[in-house]
Amino acid sequence: MEMGWRWDFTYEILPQMAIATLNTILAAGVGYAIALIVGLFFLLAQRTPSKIFNWVNRELVEFIRSTPLLIQLFFVYFVLPQFGITLSAWVCGMITIGLHFGTYMSEVYRGALEGVSKTQWEACRALNFSTIYTYRRIVLPQAFPIAIPGMGNYLVGIFKDTPLLSTIGVAELFHAATAVGGYNYRYLEPYTLVGIIFLTLSIPAAMWVRKLERDVNISQGKIKK
């Protein structure tokens, strides 16, 4: 076998990898959208009047957060069919990523809401604002900038966890690299390309999140330009 980097092989596999990259971005985007919504539900479930329900919800969040995403993927993918629910690998992957990161997202939301000073609530009470009005005009606009760094970090986090989807057969970037590598008995170029593609996507994304955080803070008057 030829050692060292082979450029002809790299060019040969590049189109395939580019298409798979689109799948990876799609998976990350859909997973993130689900996580944002699921996180909202977990947040609301923590604030119900029922103490038992709140406790069950908190333990569930704790359980999902402290077990590996990989086994959760296997669990959803292999166990659901036993109960007669057969979903495609894509759907299983999206559900699992949405649930897993939804628990993290609910913590981000909770932290942001608690980050808004209590006196703001008291002032609204004193001004006789309704709860909905208080949330919409006073609390949420202040909570949002606190949530932005966390929300952005998990977008990058989900993106970097999408390779796990290859283990249940979702045809994303890492899956394509493994397939190409196995077919040609060369793993050097495919896996290195995956690394480079991830770097070129996630570093600008992380920089964009940092800029967004700054912009929001400036527009809120927290830091000066």
Partner: protein, 223 residues
């Protein structure tokens, strides 16, 4: 087959896998703590070469996926004449990846030490090494331990990935049992439970204990 029969037959295998998982966790924990200390300090160096090296290292390992790094260490490094055993490759990849995250925690911790402490050390004419070693480092532990605890739980979860480079850990055994018996709910459910118990009732209490210890060491009682 009842769940009890399942445990009776496959429990030992899963426990043996758990032992490997613990081994991977402990080794990569030691590695990542050392790496994050070194690179966290390097990141604050005034020398642009040292600081640049640390920045490139951190951005590289935080920018790519852990799974990619693992596969790279196991399947690509042999191309360069470096053949690592699966266990070693797993520990090294985990240590390097989490070291990059840990370095940022250490950096933030050092920056959070009040400036007066630096100034006091200056005015007492401590050497640079002594300043860091005797004054600054002991004070960063209460600051960095809470985020480091989160990172360590993430590390425990990430050890599951080494199964994909053929390390025979808990995840690997669960997958193996699943492919023989097709009792997916039992084997993956048990694996999830074991990970949960390890995180919730062993790792987290241990890290909390470290936090209390660190607070007591510098005279700040933690309740």
């Amino acid at each position: 087959m009842t769940y009890f029969e399942f445990l009776n037959e496959h429990g030992i295998t899963l426990l043996l896998g758990t032992v490997t998982t613990v081994k991977v966790l402990v080794c990569s924990m030691i590695l990542y703590v050392i790496i994050s200390m070194i690179f966290g300090l390097m990141r604050l160096s005034k020398n642009p070469v040292i600081q640049g090296t640390a920045t490139i290292y951190i951005e590289f390992f935080r920018g790519t996926s852990l799974l990619v790094q693992l596969f790279w260490a196991y399947y690509v490094l042999p191309f360069f004449g470096i053949s690592l055993e699966a266990f070693t490759a797993g520990v090294v990849a985990l240590g390097l990846n989490f070291g990059a995250y840990g370095a940022e925690i250490v950096r933030a911790g050092i920056l959070a030490v009040p400036k007066g402490q630096w100034e006091a050390a200056y005015s007492l004419n401590f050497t640079a090494a002594k300043r860091i070693k005797r004054i600054i480092i002991p004070q960063i532990f209460p600051i960095i331990l809470p985020p480091a605890a989160n990172l360590t739980v993430e590390l425990l979860k990430a050890t599951a990935l080494v199964a994909l480079v053929t390390v025979v850990d808990l995840t690997f055994e669960a997958k193996q049992i699943n492919s023989i018996t097709w009792l997916s709910a039992q084997c993956f459910g048990t694996a999830l439970l074991i990970y949960y118990i390890m995180a919730r009732f062993a790792l987290v209490p241990f890290l909390r204990w470290l936090e209390v210890l660190a607070a007591r060491k510098i005279g700040k009682e933690k309740v």
